[in-house]
């Protein structure tokens, strides 16, 4: 294929949401696509000029009535100068699929599978891209015909294993990533009114009083032991989080990301087993190197089992091997994305669900 046939357009309404995993995954895919050909990134919004954003020039093509919604076709600022060979959209963005069909009728439409809603057959893309495997990657919308598993590259810094987090004088703790989102005011260890903890973390702190339970929430790690709060440590950078993961007995992700469960993958790559909810995008990662749980007894049993050093080492090594193979090689990721593009261009290809 020449450059023209590999030109790709990314339609992403999540692109400018740095907190969402959808943006993280779409940016990774766009980065891989940029190794294969030109990539245009289009977002809803009003702007007269392209906005430089890392390796891309992000262009706003107008907006619809709702916040973050795409414009109507007659108001869309999508340049039709050089038609793309493929358009990449989010699976839950029906309007983007419709827009792609209208503005680039010859292009294949690829949808990044995620926490999808039901997509009518008329709006279905030509193929679904999944990064966490056919079994993972969140819910595949019903009716998905062609699923292309491209994997992903999830970067970590292995130096995190060398030195633990400066704020903690111990290791072998239970690292709990909270399922509460949003910015909360940092609690003060002396303020008893703000010692609430997310319910599942409370179960863990109560069940494992002899262990340090480190609960990360709102960029703060709260250290619990003997069923009581012992201190608070800031988690300001990604490196801080990786250090916490690298020296933990296990990472318990109570609210993994909806597409790949990024933190679970990072933890596995650092050799730390993962415990994650069944049915989440991180279930595959948890099954590869840890445990998945459906309810509180299973959560407690999984964490108790990882208290055995042999079991912990075994699950950690298995998970690390799986995560390295699937998420640790950027070259392979680019190759798989290229393979997906080639597959979607032909009459067959990809994996049937």
């Amino acid at each position: 294929m020449d450059d023209r046939s590999r030109r790709t357009t990314v339609l992403s309404r999540h692109w400018s949401q740095p907190g969402s995993e959808a943006a993280f995954v779409m940016r990774s895919l766009a980065g891989a696509l940029s190794r294969l050909g030109p990539v245009d990134v289009l977002v809803p919004g009003w702007a007269t000029r392209s906005r430089p954003d890392g390796a891309f020039d992000v262009r706003a093509v107008g907006a619809g009535a709702g916040e973050g919604s795409w414009p109507d076709m007659d108001e869309c600022g999508w340049s039709t100068g050089e038609p793309p060979a493929a358009v990449l959209v989010h699976a839950d963005d029906r309007a983007a699929t419709t827009l792609a069909r209208a503005m680039a009728p010859a292009a294949r439409v690829l949808a990044l599978a995620g926490p999808g809603r039901r997509v009518p057959a008329a709006d279905s893309p030509d193929a679904w891209l999944t990064v966490a495997g056919p079994a993972g990657g969140g819910a595949m919308p019903p009716g998905a015909r062609r699923i292309l598993d491209v994997g992903m590259h999830v970067a970590i810094n292995l130096l995190a294993k060398v030195q633990r987090h400066n704020g903690l004088g111990f290791s072998d703790y239970l690292l709990v990533l909270s399922d509460r989102s949003g910015r909360r005011q940092t609690p003060d260890v002396g303020d008893r009114r703000d010692r609430r903890v997310t319910p599942l973390a409370a179960w863990l702190a109560a069940r494992f009083p002899r262990d340090h339970v480190v609960v990360v929430e709102s960029a703060t790690a709260a250290v619990w032991r003997a069923r009581s709060l012992r201190g608070l440590v800031r988690v300001d950078t990604r490196m801080d989080l990786w250090r916490l993961m690298a020296h933990a007995r296990c990472t318990i992700d109570l609210g993994p990301g909806p597409i790949v469960g990024r933190e679970c993958v990072e933890s596995l790559r650092l050799g730390t087993p993962v415990v994650a909810p069944t049915g989440s995008a991180a279930e595959a990662a948890a099954l590869a190197g840890g445990f998945a749980f459906r309810d509180v007894p299973e959560l407690l049993a999984a964490v108790a089992e990882l208290a055995d050093p042999g079991r912990r080492r075994e699950r950690g090594e298995a998970g690390q091997a799986t995560a390295e193979a699937r998420y640790g090689d950027p070259v392979r990721f680019v190759d798989r994305v290229g393979g997906a593009l080639a597959a979607v261009g032909g009459p067959t290809g990809g994996l049937d669900p």
Binding site: R117, R207, R210, A226, D240
Partner: protein
């Protein structure tokens, strides 16, 4: 934007993403407001500087070492005067000496008791931590088991039966729970 992602702690990653956990918990365990924390080791009161100084001074006052015989006129005169004074004030001095001795013995007894209480408190603190740990582990396990037993068990072939762990809508498909 890239910088924000690079510095992205957990908090930023969570924003805008649906949260998958939605366990139907009856009630999470209550955590403690006060940490059952053993305090620092208490040094024995009997070894306090003030008490050892009192004992040392008392011992010096009652030094029973035989004094050398006075030599010279002045020394002999001083000894006779002291002896006369002791004979004259003897009963009163003896009572004061007994009082001071009694105070010192009482202080010693209090110090011994304080040290014993400190030892017991330390022991109790250790026991409290142990009790909190053991009871917390056992009670939480029992509660978790009871909560599982309390959950409804819909028909196995019911496609609409809820998950035991019900992820937030949109994150996972509603799959029947096993068993």
């Amino acid at each position: 934007m890239v910088a924000t992602l690079a510095l992205n702690p957990r908090e930023l990653l969570n924003e805008g993403s649906p949260r998958p956990t939605g366990l139907t918990l009856l009630a999470a365990p209550t955590l403690l407001e006060h940490a059952p924390n053993p305090g620092p080791h208490l040094a024995p009161v009997r070894q306090a500087t003030e008490l050892t100084a009192v004992h040392r001074q008392w011992a010096q006052l009652h030094d029973v070492e035989p004094r050398p015989a006075p030599r010279g006129v002045r020394a002999r005169l001083r000894r006779r005067l002291v002896g006369a004074g002791e004979r004259l004030l003897g009963p009163a001095l003896s009572e004061e000496r007994e009082l001071v001795g009694g105070l010192i013995r009482a202080t010693e007894a209090l110090a011994v008791r304080c040290d014993e209480l400190a030892s017991r408190v330390e022991c109790l603190e250790d026991v409290l931590v142990e009790v909190v740990n053991v009871v917390s582990e056992d009670l939480t396990s029992v509660r978790a088991a009871l909560e599982r037993a309390d959950l409804p068990t819909p028909a196995r072939d019911d496609p609409e039966r809820p998950l035991v762990l019900a992820p937030t809508a949109g994150v996972a498909s509603r799959r029947p729970a096993d068993g």
